[in-house]
């Protein structure tokens, strides 16, 4: 990966400027572009929009570089490459859903945070589908998303839910930002941030406000035989499913109900309900679109470079408060909303902050 402060697509634009007063900059950009470097094709696209004043604006934005492979029901990676960027639809639903989901997640990261792919440097987005036989899972293996087809009895498949795809990709973003150890509270934070990004990516795709959103993760991945809407709910952890086979959604929404277990890396998919709900409460208090304010605070926290990979809930809560204060000011309603949310889920003690609890 070519690491450069000024991205090549920007250099190309500067180099193309004709106005004489910019000739020096254009020359510099041209010589920078001409300098030998690793060959990497740069993808960009033209976006046209009409602003409030009715002016047509055109901007170039970076574009995703996707690659979907088919494991052909083996548990081997990466599998056979079946669709690359700009290739037409394959007709294989899982392949095409994964492709579209990668694109929607890419668009979300760029529009919300100006992040160019998972690594922020336009890195390729890779996914493998049809992994294993009746394989009941979707995961991130450090370099690609991997999707089983589900068993058809409990799970109908995973590629149909954008929240699942964005969740898996978010693990890549978290890893790129220094990671959160996948065990105990830091692991539950890793899971929670992946859910938060998963929920926001879907809301962005559907252009939903916080009031319109379902706040569900994995809606539609269960078969009709299962009694449940989804796997997890940020709005009401513990209510996503209640089924004879699967049991009841075990997620807590408050520290009083924190689950101590040896399973699931110390309950990373269980206790993530607590920070998930804190994000939901913050987003609801601030209103509008989740990624425009609450999401910015969470994203800045993740990317600040100061979050420890072994952070617990309290450390993360304090980091979100610091991020909110840096972004919006100490006495801002944003800081108050974040503090009230963490207080309500029992992570920050009541007396710790001003009495702004909702």
């Amino acid at each position: 990966m070519t690491a450069a402060i000024v991205p090549p697509y920007l250099l190309a634009r500067i180099a193309a400027v004709q106005e004489p007063q910019w000739s020096r900059a254009a020359d510099a950009a041209r010589s920078t572009l001409a300098a030998p470097r690793d060959y990497r094709p740069v993808r960009s696209r033209l976006r046209l929009s009409i602003d409030e004043a009715g002016t047509l604006t055109a901007e170039t934005t970076p574009a995703p570089d996707r690659e979907i492979s088919d494991a052909q029901r083996q548990e081997r990676l990466p599998g056979v490459r079946v669709r690359g960027e700009d290739d037409p639809q394959t007709g294989d639903v899982a392949v095409d859903e994964a492709y579209d989901g990668l694109g929607a997640t890419y668009d979300f990261l760029w529009d919300a945070f100006a992040r160019d792919s998972l690594d922020g440097a336009g890195g390729r987005l890779r996914a493998t589908v049809h992994y294993g036989r009746d394989y009941d899972n979707a995961f991130w293996n450090g370099e690609r998303m991997v999707f089983g087809d589900g068993d058809g009895e409990v799970f109908a498949g995973f590629t149909g839910s954008l929240t699942v795809i964005a969740h898996e990709l978010a693990h890549g973003v978290i890893e790129d930002e220094g990671g959160l150890l996948y065990r105990g509270q830091s692991g539950a934070l890793n899971e929670s941030i992946a859910d938060v990004i998963g929920a926001m990516a879907e809301q962005h795709h559907l252009d939903q406000t916080v009031d319109e959103a379902s706040w569900l993760i994995g809606a539609g991945i269960f078969t009709d035989a299962v009694e449940g809407d989804a796997l997890r709910s940020l709005a009401a952890p513990g209510t996503a499913y209640d089924d004879d086979v699967l049991g009841t959604d075990p997620q807590p929404a408050h520290m009083d109900d924190f689950v101590v277990t040896r399973d699931d890396n110390g309950g990373v998919h269980i206790n993530s309900g607590i920070p998930n709900h804190a994000f939901y409460l913050t987003a609801m208090a601030l209103g509008g679109r989740s990624w425009e304010c609450a999401g910015v605070i969470w994203y800045r926290t993740l990317t600040s470079g100061t979050l420890s990979s072994t952070a617990d809930f309290t450390a993360f809560a304090r980091a979100t408060l610091a991020a909110a204060a840096a972004e919006y000011g100490e006495g801002s309603e944003e800081v108050d909303a974040v503090r009230a949310a963490w207080t309500q889920v029992g992570v920050i003690p009541q007396q710790d902050g001003p009495a702004t609890q909702h």
Binding site: A138, F139, W140, N141, Y182, L231, L246
Partner: protein, 155 residues
């Protein structure tokens, strides 16, 4: 190892005996007549007094974070086959999954009991479930499916 609830240590009264013809009924599909799959069963690690061998498999983690359990207590005439399969697994080479587990992957816990031998246990990340481990896990799941035995899971 987590202490097991004492209720799990005793054979269940509704459990068919090994010589019970009901045990070798034609295989039932995973879906019961009501159209619902059976509940997962809690691992019943301790075999009934006359059972020569028992294997329990527990899968935790995964994107859904939902644990599933399977158990096999094959009848005496199948015991040699099962013991051979158990012995082919590299129990001593299995190490606990590392702390930096890849997100959303499964973890497998396998326990084997043999009459008159100490319990064997291994915990494996999903990508190490290959070869003999894969055969053993598939055999336990298949045994579960074929016998269609169900037991309520504690809620």
């Amino acid at each position: 190892m987590d202490p097991r609830p004492s209720t799990d240590d005793a054979p269940r009264p509704d459990e068919p005996r090994r010589d019970d013809p009901a045990r070798v009924e034609p295989a039932r599909s995973e879906l019961t007549p009501g159209g619902r799959p059976p509940r997962d069963r809690r691992p019943d690690a301790t075999p009934a007094p006359d059972a020569p061998v028992a294997v329990d498999v527990e899968r935790t983690g995964g994107f859904a974070g939902i644990s599933r359990r399977w158990s096999a207590q094959p009848p005496p005439d199948e015991a040699d086959e099962w013991i051979a399969l158990i012995d082919r697994c590299p129990w001593d080479a299995a190490s606990a999954p590392p702390d930096d587990t890849q997100p959303d992957t499964f973890t497998w816990c396998i326990r084997a009991h043999r009459k008159g031998a100490p319990e064997r246990e291994a915990e494996l990340p999903d990508d190490e479930v290959t070869g003999a481990w894969r055969e053993l896990i598939d055999a336990v799941r298949e045994w579960n499916r074929a016998t269609g035995r169900t037991a309520p899971r504690p809620r």
